[in-house]
């Protein structure tokens, strides 16, 4: 993904240590841990999206100059991440809170 032009992964080494969501229960916090993708509280979150055999969820945030660059970065990123131990790859734009653009993973792996 680093080699794709016009995109950056803004987090350290490109990987966020947890899934994140827009907003928080605290007013001053614009983003927080996405509780439904948080393995350490899987047992107490009723609508947890973490499957039973999963112990970690990482997130890669991609900022791009245009749609094409973001789509390409996501495509090569998925190819790189699909290795033993990884059970699921998903993406979301948080109900439109992050903008109008949508990237469907099934289209990107074709």
């Amino acid at each position: 993904m680093k080699r794709v032009e016009n995109v950056i992964m803004p987090f350290p080494k490109g990987v966020v240590r947890s899934g994140s969501k827009v907003g928080s229960k605290y007013k001053a916090l614009v983003a927080s841990t996405n509780h439904i993708y948080c393995p350490t509280i899987k047992g107490v979150v009723k609508d947890s999206a973490v499957p039973e055999n999963v112990n970690a969820c990482y997130e890669i945030v991609v900022d791009g100059a245009d749609e094409k660059a973001v789509a390409e970065a996501m495509s090569v990123g998925m190819q790189a991440a699909a290795k033993d131990g990884v059970t699921q790859i998903t993406a979301g734009n948080f109900g439109g809170k992050l903008g109008k653009y949508k990237f469907f993973l099934k289209d990107l792996v074709k």
Binding site: P39, T40, K42, G43, V44, V50, V54, N55, A56
Partner: protein
């Protein structure tokens, strides 16, 4: 200063004036006249202790003091080194400083502690760092390291303190705890973490989990590696490499309370 027990008290004796701040600020003759309670009778400190100067800046106390209560009570600073066993209420309500005990202790160690450090190389009794009956909060800060075994109700109602036990624990470890960290290396009794609101209990032993806890995941907490490094550098507790780098089962609970506590059980 150095205090040495020369006469064994016949009944429990309360000596809460034996702290570095009080003893080190007085001359020997003044120290000898400090009043302590032998049972319900007021006696002089010199009736049980011999007092001498020592080169060390810390207060040294020596002897089999299993009948002496409240050593280091209300301590706010300074260091106290104790050679021998001590009785209950060591470090009661202490807010700072350091107490090292080369020996074992009685029950009710460090009630209402809010800061400072206690390091015990032997065993501890019941109700260490425990809230007094009727109180919702126990210790509110500080660090307690016990290299040996302890009995029941370790850290009952504790909040924001760190407790490490190198050996076995009795029943109800961390019962009703509000926050803070308990790390244990030995066999555990029953009902660990019952009624805990928040906080962390880390066990090397494969404990029986209460039904009001729910399983989360298997993971390796980063902060634990820092705590273990600190223990390797400062204590005689044997910590094997497999444990330091191992994975832990995380359980959330207790569901009868806030459900925000965590039990971390070592995955062999």
């Amino acid at each position: 200063m150095k205090l040495k027990l020369h006469t064994q008290p016949e009944v429990p004796t309360e000596a809460e004036s034996i702290t570095p701040a009080i003893i080190n600020s007085l001359k020997i003759k003044e120290i000898e006249k400090i009043k302590i309670y032998h049972g319900n009778r007021e006696v002089h400190l010199a009736d049980f202790f011999s007092v001498s100067n020592s080169k060390s800046t810390s207060l040294e106390v020596e002897g089999d003091m299993h009948q002496i209560k409240y050593l280091g009570a209300n301590m706010a600073d300074g260091e106290m080194h104790i050679e021998g066993d001590v009785g209950p209420h060591l470090g009661s309500a202490m807010s700072g400083g350091f107490i090292k005990v080369n020996g074992s202790t009685g029950d009710w160690i460090a009630p209402e502690m809010s800061g400072g450090r206690i390091h015990i190389t032997g065993n501890g009794g019941h109700c260490i760092a425990c809230a007094y009956r009727g109180a919702s909060k126990g210790v509110s800060g500080g660090e307690i390291i016990i290299e040996g075994n302890v009995k029941n109700e370790l850290g009952h109602g504790m909040a924001n303190a760190t407790i490490v036990v190198g050996g076995k624990c009795g029943d109800f470890t961390g019962v009703n705890m509000n926050s803070g960290t308990i790390l244990t290396f030995g066999e555990m009794g029953i009902r660990t973490g019952a009624g805990m609101k928040r906080g962390t209990i880390i066990c090397k032993d494969n404990i029986e989990i209460l039904p009001t806890f729910s399983y989360d995941c298997l993971y390796s907490p980063v902060y634990l590696k820092l705590l273990l490094k600190y223990l390797i550098d400062n204590t005689e507790i044997k910590i094997d490499k497999e444990f330091a780098e191992g994975l832990f089962h995380r359980w959330s609970g207790d569901a009868i309370e806030m459900n925000r506590g965590e039990l971390l059980v070592y995955s062999v």
